[in-house]
């Protein structure tokens, strides 16, 4: 199996202004009665991209997927696929296939017939169908299960049948609705990588809906974070994690410490923030708002160092009391309570089997982080 690294590293059509978008949502709104599921949303997705829609349940991500599949029509706005407006085209005429969360395997057909179903609808010659089905079975490693009915398969096998069935027609876009939701954790991790390989091998555009951030981070080229029918941010996993655009995104993906404060001054690309947590923060930020504005400094737990003494070179440091310790094996999480009652989380990688600096409950501890450890957020 070839490595994805070389392809992934160079694949970034969204940075190229001349790249042609493959799927375009243009000011799409969808309402169900009084409920607005998708609110004036615009989004572009590129060919061969692995795109993830991430959000809590009810944020409109599934509705978006169903509109692309043709099961729902937008209340207003347009959806374009490869330059073609999809309005009024029924699901059975769209070059898009979907893998359902429930898998939706036909219970009265065996694995082979399930996979062949879509090909038969296209009137493909019988010999060709047989060959394609055999290829698909090989692809998902289910050759010896061809004659089984869905209820004779385990959850992981059903998931692979559903996948084979949805890619059998070589659709332009494959939509995946919580594709790994029904699998247990270990199987889910293995399958994530299988999906990524499959997407590269077939050269398809994948659009996956998930509520599992780890899943989205692992698989996707870009992630759209959705909330209440709106897109909060679209970016690569690293950008979403390291440079969230809002408190919502920062808080939704991973865990984060937020320090609220007011801009107190600016100097050589650095902003000084006077926080309510009892210390001033020096933050690296070139486009900071004017002095007096309320801002939030968001910093991830693993960017904060914890120690019993104040580190001498620290730009930002604050003292507190060790409130809680969570030992996770690969790392240890410390919750430190500041003088104003705020709990700040710091996680330390357990790179050595024994620590020289054992901190324990109720110890005084210093938390320190450099100026570029976090981002300044205005909303």
């Amino acid at each position: 199996m070839k490595s994805l690294g070389s392809i992934r590293r160079t694949f970034a059509p969204w940075t190229n202004a001349e790249a042609k978008p493959f799927i375009t949502f243009e000011n799409v709104t969808k309402t169900f009665g009084d409920f607005t599921a998708v609110d004036n949303l615009s989004l572009t997705i590129y060919e061969r991209e692995f795109f993830a829609l991430l959000g809590a349940s009810g944020c409109g991500k599934s509705t978006l997927l169903r509109m692309l599949a043709g099961f729902e029509e937008p209340t207003s706005g347009r959806i374009l696929l490869d330059g073609q407006d999809l309005a009024g085209i029924p699901p059975y005429r769209r070059p898009v296939n979907m893998m359902f969360q429930s898998y939706a395997l036909f219970p009265h057909m065996n694995v082979e017939k399930n996979i062949a179903f879509g090909l038969k609808q296209d009137g493909m010659p019988k010999a060709e169908i047989e060959k394609r089905v055999a290829d698909m079975l090989k692809l998902v490693k289910l050759e010896q299960f061809a004659k089984r009915k869905p209820h004779q398969l385990s959850g992981g096998q059903r998931q692979r049948v559903a996948l084979a069935r949805s890619v059998a027609k070589r659709p332009k876009v494959l939509l995946l609705d919580e594709p790994l939701g029904a699998l247990d954790k270990k199987l889910r991790e293995e399958t994530q990588f299988e999906l990524m390989d499959l997407q590269q091998d077939l050269g398809l555009t994948f659009m996956v809906v998930t509520h599992d951030q780890e899943e989205a981070m692992t698989m996707a080229d870009r992630i759209a974070i959705m909330d209440k029918g709106e897109v909060m941010q679209v970016a690569t996993p690293a950008e979403i994690y390291e440079a969230p655009s809002s408190r919502f995104v920062a808080d939704f993906v991973g865990s984060v410490n937020l320090f609220e404060g007011k801009v107190a001054g600016q100097d050589a690309g650095r902003v000084k923030i006077a926080t309510a947590s009892g210390f001033d923060i020096q933050a690296e930020e070139s486009a900071a708002p004017p002095a007096g504005e309320t801002v939030w400094y968001a910093v991830r737990p693993e960017k904060i160092r914890i120690s019993s003494q104040r580190p001498e070179t620290a730009v930002n440091a604050v003292e507190g009391e060790v409130w809680d310790i969570g030992y996770l094996g690969d790392m240890t999480v410390y919750n430190v309570k500041l003088a104003n009652g705020q709990i700040v989380r710091s996680s330390q990688l357990n790179a050595h089997r024994t620590t020289a600096d054992p901190l324990t409950w109720n110890d005084r501890a210093w938390l320190a982080f450099p100026a570029d450890a976090g981002v300044v957020l205005t909303r």
Partner: protein
């Protein structure tokens, strides 16, 4: 499992005795050699033989089978359509009213159903006979089919249909390739129910039949009024045999499928 207490055994025996002694007596006396129904005159199958030459009873049986077959088939189509409409289009006005209206005939006294149909047939000048009995049976057995099919449709995963359409099947093809096969057991069960209901209906048939179209229950009833003959016992025993065989086969098929399914599922989760 808990052991049966004496009380349980007694209640079981009484319960089953209550249910089955009358039928048992009927079956035993159908093999009675004597012409007198209540006097045992030795074992014989002569009444079954003489049944074959009783043209009136045979005619009635033929009419009954034809009515049952025709009405069950049409009622199954209509009942399935009604069930589809009521489960699928959940957002139209007055849906609850319509659902209630479909199910009302289930609890309607048969006499009233029969009488109202009779009035209707007279009013529109339809000659009473085979046709009117069949129409009447469709009317009341359709509701039973609708109930059976609807319960299956409510458990039906709509994403199966979406998956079929997503893979390129038009709505019509989706219905015949996916929906119909999945709900087929309920449709067959509905058909069998409608068939049995039509087979043993006396009241509605009496109201809606005309000369030349007498069903078996009507024939039996009219003969019994002149006195029970052993022939009637014989024909009733045959009816019981037909119905019992059908019920037993249906439940055996169901049971075997269940067992097979459970075994498969076990094998799948282990393998």
């Amino acid at each position: 499992m808990e052991r049966l207490s004496r009380f349980n055994i007694v209640s079981l025996v009484f319960g089953f005795a209550f249910l089955y002694i009358p039928i048992l007596i009927l079956v035993i006396y159908s093999f009675n050699a004597s012409r007198l129904v209540t006097v045992w005159g030795g074992f014989s199958t002569r009444w079954y033989v003489s049944l074959l030459s009783n043209q009136q009873l045979l005619d009635a049986a033929w009419v009954t089978l034809r009515v049952a077959f025709a009405s069950a088939t049409i009622a199954t189509v209509l009942g399935t359509m009604a069930a589809l409409a009521l489960t699928r289009y959940t957002r139209f006005r007055g849906r609850i009213l319509f659902t209630g209206m479909v199910f009302a005939p289930l609890v309607m006294p048969e006499v009233i159903t029969g009488l109202s149909l009779l009035l209707l047939f007279v009013a529109i000048g339809l000659d009473r006979g085979f046709m009117t009995i069949t129409l009447a049976h469709i009317t009341f057995s359709m509701c039973f089919v609708a109930v059976v099919v609807q319960s299956r449709l409510l458990a039906f995963d709509r994403s199966l249909e979406e998956a079929a359409m997503d893979l390129g099947a038009t709505p019509v093809r989706t219905f015949f390739a996916v929906t119909l096969p999945v709900i087929l057991p309920a449709i067959v069960a509905g058909w069998m129910l409608a068939f049995t209901l039509s087979l043993d209906d006396l009241v509605i048939a009496s109201f809606t039949s005309g000369p030349g179209a007498t069903t078996l229950p009507m024939r039996i009833y009219s003969q019994v009024r002149l006195g029970v003959t052993p022939e009637i016992n014989a024909v009733s025993t045959l009816l019981i045999a037909v119905v019992a065989t059908g019920v037993i086969i249906a439940s055996l098929i169901n049971k075997r499928r269940d067992v097979q399914r459970r075994r498969d599922e076990q094998a799948a989760t282990q393998g």
